[in-house]
Symmetry: C2
Subunit: 276 residues, 2 copies
């Protein structure tokens, strides 16, 4: 859609908004030239200014692809320094007293309910997984859902939600039983057949991982869909797991719960392997 | 945090990004002047340019509050024309064959898994409820969660998720039984005590409403927290409900499912009361 002719200053504002709201989307120079009724050379100059600011301030990359099929693509990213400072602050919040729940879990529902925290955390995972070949993001209800969407918004990918029961009213579904690694209980998870295409490359996102039984369950489910795992990201992993109990090796964690004192209800939370 | 001194064109790009990522947040002119090491008069001129583009292109308002406690606030909005064209397209998608589920529900999980659709729909609700006095957004698991977050991102508000069971492992919880209005089954929903402050003003968001039993259940739950309803927004309402069965009057719907042919599995979906 062509806009009325804008001055350069106004065009820069509009173009910035346009790019920010279309992450991981290739936009052709012709589309921009038509939109702003401007020469491609002017558009290129504008993009150079935007690119410099985005990359200098560390909120993403602007990559130009040359050629007929070329254009520009905005990739949201976060500087490691910024991520570090945000996660240190989050770790301190996670160590607040009274967050320790029965079973050594951490109460963090309130924090995962804050859109600004989610946006930051989503951008961190988007930075980690930006260059992987991913078709869809998967999570299991309930607490991982907001996080999965925060990542999905940055990566411009759809989300698929695995249900914890088999009461899915969405046509035929695949159910599997899995053993939660830490407490050895048998549980069920299911996904509607039509929710996921075969051969999909899937990024698994969850809020908390102990031994990894739930994530292993999602991987088993993916196998039923002939889909493959393109990555695993967890907000907090528990370090309170014996190494031989750990069900998976290849994952990204932002924080790690290393110790829980059930008497004082005090947790110790350090940075995750994202920062290694 | 002060940035290195930027040229005006670069400053406009940075400022646009800064405002867009902080909706419904008052930012003082002094903060901007410090950040960009520029005179308030230059900042005011930049803001005037940004305001004109935002309001001209219809993606939000930029309101300036004068005085010592003053500043500028970005309010994401969507033009009714834009919303209309997007929702007409969504209605057509909802009418695709094979979306009709047993019980007269519509399969729309795939659509509510698309971040761009969610961002659009979130912005529509944010436009509706921008001027209401709201502390928190509430939804019930599972399918309403992405939608609630999309609205929350625009309104800069936290989200609280009501669980459909009472297996909440988050300390003491309040559970209520409610009767799903359409199929008369008694169900349970619960919310952890610490998830919601007393006296909160709550915007309820859900994906689908038939007679309104689930939403009435959330309202009953709010009563237990001495909280009040600041608004109700549903993505799709079902028109297949007798008027006397309808449990609530005051809500905003974006689309309305008016007829379902179970034989041909064909649904008719029209615009909701948002456009009235």
């Amino acid at each position: 859609m062509a806009l009325k002719k804008l001055k350069r200053s106004a065009r820069l504002v509009e173009m910035t908004q346009y790019l920010l709201s279309r992450p991981h989307t290739l936009i052709s120079l012709t589309a921009f030239a038509d939109r702003y009724q401007s020469a491609k050379s002017s558009i290129s100059e504008d993009l150079a200014i935007i690119k410099e600011v985005f990359e200098e301030e560390g909120f993403g990359e602007l990559n130009t692809l040359a050629g007929a099929a070329g254009g520009v693509r905005y990739t949201p990213k976060m500087h490691t320094d910024t991520a570090l400072s945000i996660m240190k602050n989050i770790c301190r919040q996670l160590e607040q007293p009274e967050r320790v729940l029965p079973g050594g879990y951490l109460y963090m529902t309130d924090m995962l309910g804050q859109p600004d925290l989610l946006a930051d955390v989503g951008r961190m995972f988007a930075t980690s997984f930006a260059s992987r070949n991913i078709d869809v993001i998967m999570t299991v209800e309930t607490k991982g859902i907001p996080l999965a969407y925060a990542v999905a918004s940055c990566l411009n990918l759809p989300v698929v939600i695995v249900r914890r029961d088999n009461k899915v009213t969405e046509g035929s579904a695949v159910s599997i039983n899995y053993v939660s690694g830490s407490n050895k209980r048998i549980q069920t998870m299911s996904l509607a057949r039509r929710a996921l295409k075969e051969q999909s490359r899937v990024l698994i996102i969850d809020d908390f991982m102990k031994a990894g039984g739930t994530i292993q369950g999602m991987m088993d489910l993916l196998y039923e869909f002939k889909a493959t795992v393109a990555g695993v990201g967890v907000f907090v992993e528990s370090g309170e797991v014996e190494l031989e109990e750990r069900l998976l090796e290849d994952y990204v964690s932002l924080a790690k719960l290393t110790a829980v004192d059930m008497k004082t209800k005090q947790a110790t939370v350090v940075l995750g392997n994202y920062f290694k």
